[in-house]
């Protein structure tokens, strides 16, 4: 229950951190909030030879909206700052709604969104929320950068598209168009636990009141956060009635692959998915009115 030895570097500049990662590659891990990495190190599941601590790089602790309404969240922005931001709560309410379900206040004071996404736990809420909000991730490495869509970032349990020399430097979340409504719902055994099933719904009504856009994503529903695209597409052009939601929920079963746990069998997880999809769609539609 004590970490194995490692060399610790805590640079003040992003460039220095990227240079260290380029030098040490897979032997090194970036340390952000430490709320997933340090437990793994305490268990010695993770034994990085080098830790590149990002906590002293002030330029990574950023949170703000660009002129076109995109929310940009820096690698060292902690959950606590995001969940307490009034503009975030108003413009991207699903983010604040889902953050309240992430672990406990004492974890959210330290934990970062970027660190959570790099950990890529398929039971975690935030990867599914990023898919639902069509987020894009800015990956930086020494001498270069690229933008990756959230849906292309998660490759498997604890596996991402990050190369050995790359850092998830910024999260970009586009503005929700007028007429949008969102909802995040989950069921967990205890407050703050990982969800047995979680659902993020984004709906938009057109001028005629019919569904003009729909996105539906789930956590704890497979090896990666899943987008239930067929279920979401089934809603397009509908009047978003209870019957439309039930039809979408019936389609979700074929799109998920829950793995089960000591807390919930795959059959129970499938049941929860149906119930939560119906409720989340209904709530999102209400909010889109």
């Amino acid at each position: 229950m004590k970490p194995a030895p490692f060399a610790w570097h805590a640079p003040d500049e992003l460039e220095a951190a990227l240079a260290l990662k380029a030098e040490h590659g897979g032997e090194a891990r970036f340390l952000a909030g430490g709320q997933s990495l340090v437990p793994a190190m305490n268990f010695r599941v993770a034994q990085p030879a080098v830790l590149v601590d990002l906590n002293r790089i002030a330029t990574l602790d950023t949170l703000g909206f660009t002129a076109d309404g995109t929310l940009v969240i820096g690698a060292m922005c902690r959950y606590r700052r995001i969940e307490r931001d009034a503009d975030v709560a108003r413009r991207l309410p699903m983010l604040a709604e889902a953050l309240a379900e992430v672990a406990h206040p004492q974890i959210r004071t330290r934990g970062t969104l970027a660190g959570n996404l790099c950990h890529a736990d398929p039971a975690s809420e935030m990867p599914a929320v990023m898919l639902a909000l069509a987020a894009r991730f800015l990956l930086r490495r020494k001498g270069g950068e690229r933008l990756v869509a959230a849906r292309d970032f998660f490759l498997g349990p604890l596996a991402t598209a990050l190369a050995e020399d790359e850092m998830l430097a910024e999260i970009h979340i586009p503005a929700l168009p007028p007429g949008s409504g969102t909802a995040f719902l989950e069921v967990a055994r205890r407050r703050g636990d990982y969800a047995m099933m979680g659902v993020a719904a984004v709906l938009r009504r057109g001028a005629d009141g019919r569904c003009a856009a729909a996105r539906l994503t789930l956590c704890s529903a497979g090896p990666v956060p899943l987008a239930a695209d067929r279920a979401a597409s089934s809603l397009l052009g509908t009047r978003l009635t209870a019957g439309d939601f039930a039809a979408a929920a019936a389609l979700v079963g074929a799109e998920i692959d829950p793995m089960g746990s000591v807390q919930a069998s795959p059959a129970y997880q499938r049941h929860l998915a149906g119930v939560l999809v119906t409720r989340a769609l209904s709530l999102a539609a209400e909010r889109a009115a």
Partner: protein, 160 residues
Amino acid sequence: MKITVRINGANHTRDVEPRLLLSDFLRHDCGLTGTHVGCEHGVCGACTILWDGAPARACLAFAVQAEGHELRTVEGLAPGPGQLNPLQQAFQDSHGLQCGYCTPGILMTMTAFLEENPKPDEAQVREALSGNLCRCTGYQHIVDAVLRAARAAEQRKPNA
């Protein structure tokens, strides 16, 4: 490596390995054994301290990271030896502890909580308490103690 960490207003300078957890630094290197260690993976909350005023798990940070920050532990609550602060007094008055192992972490969580929410309702207290486990399962009396401390603080206010 040599580090200086500020805890309860006093500087502690020690020579440590980077892998030393902050929880072990507090207990073994500084002798501040009031911070308890339960699960060592961030679940139980026994090691909760205040890091720049915000509650955090001491088992999920390295001591070397704490340089330049203000830490507060349960030893920093009482006004003097043999005395209790109002929150600690409320825990005694409401029987808010049984074995006491989880108590330091809960006191630190609730110290920060009450600073931000001086007049909480029961649901808010339970939400704030959700990150601290009590295996004696005496949660009701803990909730009572926090509400009692909030009421007492309200009554102490001038012109209340």
